[in-house]
Amino acid sequence: MNNIFINYSLFILFLPLVAFVVLIFTGKRLPRQGDWVAVSAVLFTLVLSSAMFVAMLLDYNPDFSQQSGFTWMDLGAFKIEFGILVDNITIIMLLVVALISSCSHIFSLKYMEGDIRYSRYYAYLGLFTFSMNGIVLANNLISMYMSWELVGLSSYLLIAHWFEKDSAADAGKKAFLTNRVGDIGFFIGIMLIYSSIGSFLFSDVFAGVAAGKITGITLTLAGIGIFLGAMGKSSQFPLHIWLPDAMEGPTPVSALMHAATMVAAGVYMTIRLFPLFTPDALLVIAYVGGFTAIFAASIAITQNDIKKVLAYSTVSQLGYMILAVGTGVYTAAFFHLVTHAMFKANLFYGSGSVIHAMHHALHEKHDHETDPQDMRNMGGLKAKMPITYWSMLVSTLAIAGVPLFSGFLSKDAILAGTLAFAQHQPEHFLLPVFGFGAAAMTAFYMFRLIFMTFHGEHQMPELINDIHESPKEMTGPLVLLASLSVFVFYTLPNFNPISDHGWFTDLVVPRTAVVPGSMTAHEIADYAHHAHGLAMSLSIAVIVLGIALSVLIYFKKVFSAETWASKLGFLYDWSLNKFYFDENYNRFLYQPFLNLSKKVAWLDWEIYDRYFINGFAWVIEWYSRVTGKFDYDGIDQGLVDGIGRIVGATGHNLRKIQTGRLQNYLLYVVAGIIVMIIVQAF
């Protein structure tokens, strides 16, 4: 009976891989380019994961955890075991991945229709779903790391799906390389842990940490190393630069990978490994997350590309989750991960719907210059695209954290945890400031997006007649995900919209970190509970402030955005240009590195090659010439030919006595006999 969970998980893990293999080899020859293979595979995983979810709810056990594995490699002292781990977090995460992945598959049926690499696109989606499930189900660091890299690969492939565009190809490379920086940290962290504990299995690692096999600064460094992986994958400052560029990929990909699941992998991993982070490592995590949250939000305020706004919003929300992990309320982080997956995927699908409509309208007008993603070209779409509008509005309310919506519950839990953390350690007062500041900005820029896109007059009136609501393959996921962003799904059977209890929040029971000296889970929950009231009032206040400002500027147009922008001067400029991060990386990292490379290349080419390699060659050549001379003149000419010459000369001389005259021969015979007689005589 219990093995059903393991078996289902195996199906969920490998079905998308099967779809990938089938599509990559035979995709183009199948009817409809094989999209039904991928869609049916992922829908089947959705059914299975829903079944697991229901089974978990029916027989709820807070400590439920099952493992199954095998030894992959056994080299005596070095042993790698692979396996899968199913517990409550896994089951929820599998459901989230399957759900968003199904939505993306269905959404893409229309969005990607007629694409030149349609079947390959679906194949890569399958590969991604497989590797994401691999991360979720991993019970050891090595297979998690392998899936981690596979996720990075599929991300690269899908971002660069339209690789004919230089910007898409560059964005793919940027994502891959930036992730690599973090992944090296992850790998170092894994190796630090392995060298102390001698096992990759999570259970062994936690037991080893609890037993004090790895302590102090080493454990902190290992934790920070592992967190570096999360920083890369979850796009945390200062490795956040790849995610906004990753929006070059198709919009369903952005929704699936760069909003809901892949970027959440970093958060999921820190949640999974939460027990081994030391308080110092957690502090680093908290500050990185908090700073990312407010930093990215401040960029999102001024962006004009609808997907860029959402991208920076994703970075900011991921910062929230990381902040929550850092302050210890990692169940809140997980809660936010789930709610964020719903509303952010929905926002991306909504933006995809809008872009799709804009693109078609522009196409009708044969306008290929105007950017269909620029919000300054939009406006007044509410009447034309009602389903898109209402579903995006629900998600916007959710992400802003308005009561009655899912985001309120999860964001509130995070803010309460952060506030409690700062109340007990007042020197870290910056963390809640980051959190609440980011909350205000989030409310502001999300409503700015809604107002600029859907309200007011359309900025290009000639297009408005060609804009239509998207087909139901695209609106279906929108409606589904929007409805999942309403609070009731997370608070049943408690209908109080501002409660911090509900079935979902109680589903995942926090565990105490195994590091000696950490706060217990109970303490953290207790503090957070006490801070809840204050946090809630504060967050509602800042949200109202943010929304009000947005309404005044972009809806009522009481203040002009341009005037404010010019008043704020360099601040506006910095935000618009993303704080010049790409430029500064270029100037202070890439260019010096390239210069260094050039210098090293010069050393290599001009000094090493020229003097050492060529010098060596010269010596060898000289030596060869000497030995060649010796061989030819000495051995060949002297010895070999010499013997020949001696034989020849001897023969030549001996030939002279062969006169052919019998008398001479006879004379020799006589002489010989005389000599013999003389010799005999003595």
Binding site: G660, Q663, V670
Partner: protein, 101 residues
Amino acid sequence: MDQLNSYLFIAAILFSLGVFGVITRRNGIAVLMGVELILNAANINFIAFSRFGGMNFDGHVFGLLVIVLAAAEAAVALAIIINIYNNMNTINVDQASQLKQ
């Protein structure tokens, strides 16, 4: 014994003269004559040993055999020389050197 020595001495002189003739003569006939002298020197030795060495008539038999042999040899050799003369107009053995390289 002195008598044997004197025969052997005469035979040796005869043999030496024969060899000298064979070696030094250019004329084919003279060479043949040298060969006859060598054969006859051998005959004298056979006879001498037969007479003084207690070998009964064995030596005589060999002597007669050698004489017959010498006759046959002279007949063949003279035929060769006549052919050489017919072909080269000379019986000088030095001239008969076509086989020499």
